[in-house]
Symmetry: C2
Subunit: 218 residues, 2 copies
DNA sequence: ATGCTTTTTAAAGTGAAACTAAACTACTAA
DNA sequence: TTAGTAGTTTAGTTTCACTTTAAAAAGCAT
């Protein structure tokens, strides 16, 4: 297994490859490479038993592939916890360096890191940290853009993307803080939020990457 | 810079490439590769300004090469401190995993790790941790085999080699503990030691990889 | 100066990953 | 049903980093 193949697996995983078939184009776009290169690599991953792959149809992770992808994500998120909790990293910095560390972290290290951190349930961006057996504790969330105006909720998760993370952190957005939409401008206009009493404006695009508690009535 | 080139630099550094010219053969043996491959790589390292290299003479690190090698060693040793102090690693385990981590550790991470660990001066095997500016605090030591029988001293450093580390750790050898040679059998025979009151036997070869305080009279 | 060790050259190979260009599939909508 | 098109695969190269073997050359030491 190479760091590269790991990135393919992670990409497929994030594109929903646990349940559905994932198209080559999406993978190519995610990894920023030519579609033909993807076909090539998928062949290898299939031969190694990590994905189911039917030409022209798409690919799905095998149970072995799921295992690998999840362990990778687990390492990534544990490192993020360490980097932010103990080394004072910012959201985006933690994500960046975890991206490096995840590829060379032996399972022994993951296990001891988990213990050291006291078995955290979530990474600093709010995603659940998979258990060593591959189990993931999912709780239902909704994107902030789906929250009805005036309803109180709490920020639970943000998408991990360097630029976004910096933007959000500067806006003072924190996992767990209370939020209410004061105004949602039309035409994908900016959102005006009440964040723990402070008035904050963020773009529609950013709001679409923030996830909050699912409200009762939905 | 690739992990491989880093290993070459580290090898040259450990073979004394800060002061003297290092021969290709030694590098080839250290890295377990053919001598011709070394020549090849040295060419690249020279082109990149990391070593001085005169064909048939040998190689020496440039100041840039020294910097790289030392930063690598610094990362390695800081990780070892973390792994042993916080994650309960053994001597050999810490060395192994630090070997992986050192290659993907950005300077930002090294710096914050250093701070988190409260700027340790020594790695768990007793080697000095280089400062970020490249300065190393050397204190004069001597191999245990040179300690005269009956003289009291203290163990300050052990060579980092997986098998040796396991052997020593099982023998209960710890950095800082007091030691006295009770008997040194002839013909490179085993050493009988008084380790903090306990009577311990180790091989000549092991004793040659243990370093103790230099005694006054020497 | 001759014999041995060390080093270099030359030629080639390997493995992983990527690309372009051209052909092919499969779906979709007239 | 049949184009059209979006997506995918094939084929043929390319690149990069690293390594090897075999033979020639250099350096050194008695």
């Amino acid at each position: 297994m190479t760091p590269n193949k790991e990135d393919y697996l992670k990409a497929i995983y994030k594109l929903g490859g646990m349940e559905e078939l994932v198209g080559n184009k999406q993978i190519a776009e995610t990894l920023q490479i030519a579609p033909a290169s993807v076909t090539e690599m998928l062949g290898k991953l299939k031969r190694e038993g990590l994905i189911h792959y039917e030409p022209y149809k798409g690919s799905r992770l095998t149970s072995e592939g799921i295992r690998s992808a999840i362990l990778l994500v687990r390492g990534h998120r544990l490192w993020e916890v360490f980097l932010m909790r103990h080394l004072g990293y910012s959201w985006s910095e933690a994500h960046e360096d975890a991206e490096l560390l995840e590829h060379i972290t032996p399972s022994r290290l993951t296990a001891r890191l988990d213990q050291f951190l006291n078995y955290p349930a979530y990474c600093p961006h709010g995603s659940a940290i998979p258990h060593p057996d591959g189990h993931i504790n999912l709780i239902p969330l909704q994107p902030l853009i789906h929250l009805s105006v005036g309803t109180d909720s709490h920020i639970r998760r943000v998408t991990e993307e360097t630029e976004l993370l910096d933007y959000l952190q500067e806006s003072g957005i924190v996992i767990g803080c209370s939020v209410r939409i004061i105004e949602a401008a039309p035409y994908e206009g900016p959102f005006t939020l009440d964040l723990e009493g402070r008035r904050v404006q963020i773009s529609y695009k950013a709001a679409s990457q923030i996830f909050v508690d699912r409200t009762e009535e939905l």
